[in-house]
């Protein structure tokens, strides 16, 4: 079996600091990796953001953990297709992305009257 199921552990998923994410994805893009998607989880007071990239069906995950409501750099400048998922995470988890090429202002899925981020266990106020 190649990479249809990947169990994430410390060995195959390096944890990065938010400021290194653009450099790291650019290195991987130059190696020929394709952007698959991003995932996010609520860890209580922090949000874990995972970047999934693949090349020849080999999946690579990068992990970034940030406190709730903070800003992390957007990777739109590296992978333009990340704009939709970054907007989704911004809406559902309240993580702000710096440098979005197309900002839906939190209205990709939700409406203005939604006050709290819906996918967090304890929602934080939406901007």
């Amino acid at each position: 079996m190649k990479d249809c199921v990947v169990v994430i552990n410390e060995e195959n998923t390096p944890e990065l600091t938010p400021d290194r994410i653009i450099t790291q994805t650019r290195i991987l893009k130059d190696e020929g990796f394709r952007f698959v998607t991003m995932s996010s989880t609520d860890l209580g007071d922090r949000i874990c953001v995972l970047y999934h990239l693949d090349k020849d069906l080999q999946l690579i995950n990068l992990k970034v953990e940030v406190p709730k409501g903070t800003k992390i750099p957007s990777i739109c400048s590296v992978y333009a297709s990340a704009v939709l998922i970054e907007n989704e995470i911004k809406e559902h988890f309240g993580v702000e992305f710096d440098g979005l090429s197309l900002d839906f202002q939190g209205m990709l899925y939700l409406d203005e009257e939604v006050q709290k981020t819906p996918f967090c266990k304890i929602g934080i106020n939406r901007v």
Binding site: M1, K2, D3, C4, V5, V6, V7, I8, N9, R34, F35, V36, T37, S39, S40, T41, D42, L50, H52, D56, L57, L59, N61, Y79, A80, S81, V83, L84, I85, L102, F104, M107, L108, Y109, L110, D111, P118, F119, K121
Partner: protein, 358 residues
Amino acid sequence: MARTVIPFGPQHPVLPEPLHLTLTVEDEIVKEAIPKLGYVHRGLEKLAEIRDHTQMIQIVERVCGICSTLHAMCYCQGIEALMNVEVPPRAKFLRVIWAEMHRMHSHLLWLGLFADAFGFESLFMQFWRIRERIMDLQEATSGNRVIVSVNCVGGVKRDIDAEMEKWILDTMKIVEREVLQLKSTIMDDFTVKRRTVGIGVLSKEKAYEMGAAGPTLRASGIAQDMRQTGYAAYSELNFEPVVETDGDCYARTVCRFNEVFQAIDLIREAFAKLPQSELAVKAKGLPNGEVVSRVEQPRGECLYYLKGTGSKYLDRVRIRTPTFANIPPLLEMLPGCDLADVPVLILTIDPCISCTER
């Protein structure tokens, strides 16, 4: 000429899906397209917090009707990896058979809708009539026409007996013959070619860079198919991805059309190699850990990220569906095309907005 802004969708005569696009046109040529989602957002991922991990199978099946069994399969695959369950070989093959039947009915549905998009109503009826045979097979084998609820953690729930096997193989012969009859109509027709050839070209590099998935990616000349990873029983079957090189609407149609025959071949091969064993093993314990599971749906690669914390309830279920990945390439294709070609172009990525928004 001045720029005009045209709101396209969410309700549009040719568009079966609630997708909204704000199109900026200049002389009927599209210059810019901005999507707006959120018309069918249901928050199914959030339900993981109040439904336990076995009930989630029924919920993920309802993310999308057309690829329901593949959603359940992807989810079960992930949970089985977390709980260290080895699926019995017969269950693996049966999963492949149901998955390929799903692929066939999805592609036939799409071919019909595509014919309908450029106004070829009778071809639409013909494709859907063939599709009805597969729906009957699904109803007889699993109990439901569309939501084939056969997957469970550790295997499958129902068996296909010898009598049913003969019926399926006979139907495959009929379907193959009938689809072949329609081949010249959709492939060589002058009108169809004028509406599809050279329209919405997505180059190989762009498709890869924008993260396209499924037939949209393969029609641009990249042989990437999740079935190559050999999940379920695909590692034991003779499988080569269908690839087209042109990257236009016609290539995407041909790609899906040929995948129907590939699915027929895979079903035949799976029946020839179908081993005898029990159908499911009992899964013990509770899911703990994080896993990423991927399968190939009719529309492309689907990714599940599951996180369990050792309790009955999963901490997080994240679903990335193929249409979500195919929207950025669509926005790449749209600028430069005629306004009249927009519905055809949108349909060639096989959009499923219910999938996208979950």
